[in-house]
């Protein structure tokens, strides 16, 4: 594949992620922050997000597994995850977290567990998408091209 083709693939793939709601405008903001002084910014932030989220998901599973569930603690974790996903533009994860928090308030463990599974699902989906996207970007850069962020205005 030549650079032009790779770039076109990147544009189409990114657009589809926005269309399907996996990512929102905040992700574009992240892309825009990447520059020569910080060429790996997006990868760094996304990696942090992966680490942070997986830790939180583990903590959540543990917290919900307790005999007596500490809903304040659960809510605090979900709040963090909602924040991070919002900051990188992982829209579906964020929305799943919002629903989760409502059930925390109601102190409904069963519903919370369902929500956790929902959040996990959305997280792994978006993780997969982001990894694919980053791989595409790295290929473009390795081939001497640049990421055509300007093409994203739609």
């Amino acid at each position: 594949m030549d650079v032009g083709q790779m770039q076109r693939t990147w544009v189409e793939y990114t657009k589809s992620l926005f269309r399907e709601g996996f990512l929102d405008a905040q992700f574009t903001q992240l892309q825009l922050l990447q520059d020569e002084s910080n060429p790996d910014f997006v990868v760094e932030v996304v990696s942090l997000f992966f680490e942070d989220s997986e830790r939180l998901l583990n903590d959540l599973a543990r917290a919900l597994d307790q005999q007596i569930v500490d809903f304040k603690r659960v809510d605090a974790h979900v709040h963090q995850l909602k924040g991070s996903s919002s900051s990188i533009g992982a829209q579906r994860v964020k929305n799943a977290c919002i629903a989760f928090r409502n059930f925390c308030e109601e102190q409904n463990s069963e519903a919370c567990l369902k929500c956790l599974h929902q959040v996990q699902q959305e997280y792994y989906l978006v993780k997969n998408k982001l990894e694919t996207l980053i791989r595409l970007e790295q290929q473009i850069v390795a081939a001497g091209g640049s990421i055509p962020i300007e093409e994203l205005s739609f």
């Binding site: 905040q26 903001q29 922050l33 910014f41 924040g83 991070s84 533009g89």
Partner: protein
């Protein structure tokens, strides 16, 4: 000792051109990703950034003991703006704001609160406690550009400082303010950065500027 009504045009130009100082911003947020993001946004706006992960660490950095007592060897001299998340475990951004405003040395430093949640009572509470501005997360580059306007222009020759604040206009204050030997603070309704030609008339006639 007050140097004239804002000085001549040429010294204004000199000063605007000489504003090479990087404002130092202290960013407080318990969320790792948000810290990284705000740091990058601020650096992109030519700010020097220090981050803290909670209110206590922020107070430590500022040289304020938890009891509000000031320590000698502080970083106070360095910080031009504090931006903090509202929802933090332990000490909230609001509580941090209060501590800063209660301290004799830090109270003049503008504090901006950020939050994911758009809750009017929360916003009012923070503004009334002295926060310069309340911003909704996630932050974008355009938000940070607005923040940049809060940091004083150091007018080295005349020693004036102009700050722009969000909220109601207040009276012009003249007095000694650290770190400037002489400083006049003028407050406006927040708008975009003043153009160079607007600077001198604004200093000369602050009341008129307030009515804009």
């Amino acid at each position: 000792m007050e140097g004239g009504n804002g000085g001549s045009c040429s010294s204004m130009e000199k000063v605007m051109g000489n504003y090479g100082d990087q404002p130092h911003v202290l960013a407080v947020d318990d969320n790792l990703i948000d810290r990284k993001l705000v740091e990058k946004l601020l650096k992109n706006s030519s700010c020097k950034v220090t981050t803290a992960e909670n209110g206590l660490k922020a107070l430590e950095y500022l040289g304020l003991g938890v009891d509000g007592r000031n320590k000698l060897d502080t970083n106070v001299s360095k910080v031009n703006l504090i931006i903090t998340d509202y929802c933090m475990p332990g000490m909230t951004g609001y509580e941090l704001l209060k501590k800063i405003k209660e301290s004799s040395i830090m109270k003049e430093v503008p504090v901006v609160i950020m939050s994911y949640e758009n809750i009017p009572t929360r916003i009012t509470k923070c503004l009334e406690e002295g926060a310069q501005m309340f911003m909704l997360k996630p932050l974008k580059q355009s938000d940070v550009k607005k923040l940049r306007a809060f940091v004083g222009f150091k007018l080295s020759t005349q020693g004036y400082r102009i700050q722009k604040f969000c909220g109601k206009p207040t009276d012009c204050k003249v007095g000694l303010q650290w770190p400037y030997v002489l400083c006049r603070t003028i407050t406006f309704h927040m708008r975009d950065t003043l153009a160079q030609h607007e600077l001198q008339p604004a200093i000369a006639n602050p009341t008129k500027a307030l009515c804009r």
